[in-house]
């Protein structure tokens, strides 16, 4: 077990190293990073000053060392537009993003799990066909389009829901649905296949042989075990949701991390863009580590494998 954890932590650190290297490398290979770090319209003298200030006149390895050093201290630089540290801005927006992601996740599970179970009970039946259509649409409709169409129907024509901003629970409904839509389809598919796996196992056959009614077999015996992979995926997806909500947050003007990233793009505020991407990537790498370790705790086969 200990060996497994050490190995996983090692991989995680390696991933973080590669992540920082990727970001560092791409910023420098595509041109002079000083042009990204100064405000648009800066003079040559300003650029030279920036070069010196950020150590861009030093050898690459020193630069990379400095880059990682400041990352390790949680220093992601200063936003040009807001004139505050990027970390501070990020932490300000994080609660909003988490709120949106939690509601969207709840919605996607509420839609995905029951429809996945219905689809698995009779393969090839009506609900299975319906589920296939649903998952196809989930993959094919981009979330910003879902958002725009929701606004068109529920804000412009019906006037039921506010089209933008944060506030009461009403503000959450449409963004959460637009964000959860794709994930509902993916949760449905996993619930279906996981239910099918479980329904084929011996103990379900036994439960049926005992004469338990179908509803009890599904609800009590199969459902619980089929839920494990779905909830694991949901855990990872929650982190992914926080980081892919950019478009939804832009459509609904939701003040989260994605909106911050968008502001970074439109104001050419590079430290924000870089900071959000680094933190997002790091968050996902670390959550993956936890999931791996959790798996090993639950399932001895995994920790003995290596």
């Amino acid at each position: 077990m200990r060996q497994y954890v050490i190995r996983r932590v090692g991989y995680c650190l390696l991933s973080l190293f590669l992540l920082s290297l990727t970001i560092f490398f791409f910023v420098r290979v595509t041109g002079d990073p000083a042009t990204l770090l100064v405000e648009p319209g800066a003079s040559d003298a300003d650029i030279a000053a920036i070069h010196h200030h950020f150590g861009l006149d030093q050898p690459l390895w020193t630069q990379y060392g400095l880059f990682v050093w400041s990352l390790a201290h949680g220093d992601l630089g200063q936003s040009f537009y807001y004139q505050t540290p990027v970390m501070e801005l990020y932490l300000q927006r994080l609660p909003n993003s988490l709120l949106l992601a939690f509601v969207a996740m709840a919605l996607s599970l509420l839609i995905g799990i029951p429809s996945g179970i219905l689809a698995s009970v009779r393969v090839g039946g009506f609900w299975d066909g319906f589920g296939k259509l649903f998952s196809l649409l989930g993959l094919s409709l981009p979330s910003f389009l879902v958002g725009l169409l929701l606004i068109l129907v529920f804000s412009v024509y019906l006037g039921w829901l506010p089209s933008s901003g944060a506030g009461g629970p009403l503000h959450l409904i449409m963004p959460a649905f637009a964000l959860g839509w794709y994930f509902a389809a993916s949760h449905m598919r996993l619930t279906r296949s996981s239910m099918l796996d479980v329904l084929g196992s011996e103990y379900i056959k036994l439960a049926r042989l005992k004469g338990l009614p179908q509803s009890l077999v599904i609800a009590k015996h199969a459902f619980k075990n089929a839920l494990i992979p779905v909830l694991t995926l949901a855990g990872i997806n929650l982190v992914i949701m926080v980081n892919v909500a950019v478009v939804v947050e832009v459509v609904f003007a939701w003040p989260g991390i994605g909106r911050l990233l968008y502001e970074g793009i439109t104001f050419r505020d590079f430290p924000i863009v870089q900071g959000v991407v680094i933190l997002g990537g790091a968050m996902i790498v670390i959550v993956n580590l936890f999931v791996d370790i959790l798996y090993a705790v639950i399932d001895p086969r995994i920790r003995l494998e290596s």
Binding site: Y11, L14, S15, L18, L19, T22, I23, F26, V27, T30, G31, L36, L136, L137, L139, S140, L141, P142, F144, L145, L148, L149, I151, L152, S155, V156, Y157, S163, S193, I240, N243, V244, V246, V247, V250, V251, L261, Y262, G264, I265, T266, F270, V273, Q274, V276, V277, G280, G281, I284, V285, N288
Partner: protein, 300 residues
């Protein structure tokens, strides 16, 4: 006198006639998606001939005209005009060109990089495999959209930059799958025989492994087409994709957002509909190909 061979000869079934045609029979090919993609491709090729107006120049006197069947619309602008008085239909037609070019070249680019790295990684193994797979894992961990936004904000918006960015972001998906296939292929008899026959590693990878993974790469490519088109539309929508005034569907949606609250629905519904039609067709076609050619990929 009959020879033993005559006695035990079994009635062989008559060989199917026109087998080549049967292999391409229209019955189980998803005709509708194929037709939609075909039409979009034709529209993209003949955009210059088909578009009734210049897609990038509008007349400010004809702003926000609705489609012709709505009151206030005219047959001059069949699907209405946008905030600069540009013809929506013409922009949609030229937008098809952008989506097609970006979609196919990005999928192709990602496919080449991913397939080569997947084969090298799977066949050579050892530290090469370790290095390539670690990079793949790390890049896969970054949400594709966020990674693309990051790259796009560094290199600046242009259509070809988007192609390169999408290729850089999505090659990892190919590398993963192809590597898995190569791992099982390289244990097979014909590869061992090739080694015995003295083929170099490069020859084996090129002549013996590559033809066997091409199927998977094509199936994966079709499935990726939808993803790539959505990502392109998303980047354009966010303002880091295809730069204005070029007509891209994602960009049109972004422009249309301004008019949405006042009810100018045609600026959102038409480009949105085009994206959905194209992505849906690509996904249906990809699903069909996957089941048809590659049972191993079914669980993807």
């Amino acid at each position: 006198m009959s020879t033993p061979a005559d006695v035990i000869r079994l009635p062989t079934p008559a060989p199917p006639r026109f087998s080549a045609i049967r292999a391409l029979r229209l019955g189980d090919v998803p005709m509708v998606p194929l037709a939609i993609l075909g039409v979009i491709a034709l529209v993209a090729v003949f955009a210059n001939q088909l578009a009734p107006h210049n897609p990038e120049i509008g007349s400010l006197t004809a702003r926000f005209k609705p489609p012709f069947w709505v009151k206030g619309g005219s047959t001059e602008y069949l699907l209405g005009t946008d905030q600069l008085g540009r013809d929506v239909l013409s922009r949609l037609i030229f937008g098809a060109r952008v989506s097609m070019v970006v979609g196919f070249t990005a999928v192709f680019f990602a496919g080449i990089v991913g397939t080569i790295l997947g084969i090298v990684s799977g066949y050579l193994g050892g530290w090469v495999d370790q290095v390539i797979m670690r990079i793949t894992d790390t890049w896969l961990a970054l949400p594709a959209l966020m990674f693309a936004i990051f790259l796009a904000s560094i290199v600046g918006p242009s259509m070809w930059n988007i192609v390169i960015i999408l290729g850089l972001v999505y090659w990892t998906r190919y590398a993963r799958v192809i590597r898995g296939e190569v791992l099982s292929l390289k244990e097979r008899e014909f590869v061992r025989l090739a080694i015995v026959a003295g083929c170099s590693k490069l020859t084996i990878m090129r002549r013996h492994i590559l033809p066997n993974v091409i199927n998977s790469a094509v199936v994966l490519g079709t499935l990726m087409l939808g993803v790539v088109i959505i990502t392109e539309a998303t980047l354009s929508f966010l303002g880091v994709g295809v730069p204005p005034p070029e007509p891209a569907w994602g960009l049109m949606l972004s422009d249309g957002k301004q008019g949405l609250m006042v009810g100018y629905w045609w600026l959102t519904v038409f480009p949105g509909g085009c994206i959905v039609l194209m992505v849906l067709s690509a996904n249906l076609l990809g699903d069909w190909l996957r089941v048809k050619f590659d049972p191993q990929l079914r669980q993807l």
